[in-house]
């Protein structure tokens, strides 16, 4: 019993080290792989400020005519 417990502890420790060291994952399908990659890919932080600066130099976008808002 003690031996089994010790063996299990060694296995668990090994899995933890492997997970912490390499961060490996298994995926079921192509889109799941792509989704995981997208989640860890962020646009550059400077992009929002750059866009804001560009927009500040633009005239305000024309608002939609009232008749189109009502009748599409």
């Amino acid at each position: 019993m003690n031996q089994r417990l010790q063996h299990k502890q060694v296995e668990q420790t090994g899995q933890t080290q492997q997970t912490a060291g390499t961060q490996r994952r298994e995926f079921a399908e192509a889109e799941e792989v792509i989704r995981a990659d997208r989640e860890q890919t962020q646009p550059p932080e400077s992009l929002g400020a750059r866009l804001a600066q560009s927009i500040a130099g633009e005239p305000a976008p024309p608002s939609r005519p009232w008749w189109k808002r009502l009748f599409g």
Binding site: A30, V33, D37, Q40, P43, S54, I55, E58, G72
Partner: protein
């Protein structure tokens, strides 16, 4: 940036940047493309009629923008057409190519695999990875029927798995 448009940017910039990154394969070009996509959206905000949701509208602008960039690049640099059947008929090993994937290498491997695929497959896989898009919306974005999308996605997944395995 006006508050409403800032919210649009916050909600969708990651997806738009990622789509541009994987279509163009270059972070600097993707950053420029994302900037240009949101500028086009800003300029045409008054004409946005709400028939499609904002995400789909932004995706349409991104696909057109990246397609224009890529076609001008291809016109200068690429003179051959890849044979789609090569990817579909590859008989790979039966075990999953997505087992034991090192996360820090994921971007490099995906970019490498997508680069091997025909553009149509690349676009379909990137769009279907967004769970907010329905097959109908993907069909509209890629200008084909939903049946065609389903059929091509089946082949695209298979082709992606085959080339992804080789990137390890």
């Amino acid at each position: 940036m006006p508050v409403d448009f800032a919210a649009v940017y916050e909600a969708h910039s990651q997806q738009i940047f990622y789509l541009a990154l994987r279509l163009l394969g270059d972070p600097t070009q993707a950053e420029d493309a994302t900037h240009d996509v949101f500028m086009k959206a800003w300029r045409h905000l008054g004409g946005f009629r709400g028939e499609a949701d904002v995400r789909t509208w932004l995706y349409r602008i991104t696909l057109n923008h990246c397609s224009n960039l890529r076609s001008s690049w291809h016109a200068r640099n690429v003179h051959t057409q890849p044979d789609d059947t090569v990817f579909e008929n590859l008989a790979g090993p039966t075990d999953s190519p997505f087992r034991d994937v090192e996360m820090s290498e994921l971007g490099r491997r995906i970019q490498g695999a997508l680069a091997e695929l025909p553009e149509e497959y690349r676009v379909l896989l990137l769009l279907v990875a967004d769970q907010e898009l329905s097959y109908e919306q993907i069909a509209q974005l890629t200008q084909q029927s939903t049946d065609a999308v389903r059929g091509k996605l089946h082949r695209a997944r298979k082709a992606f798995g085959n080339v992804f395995r080789k990137t390890a």
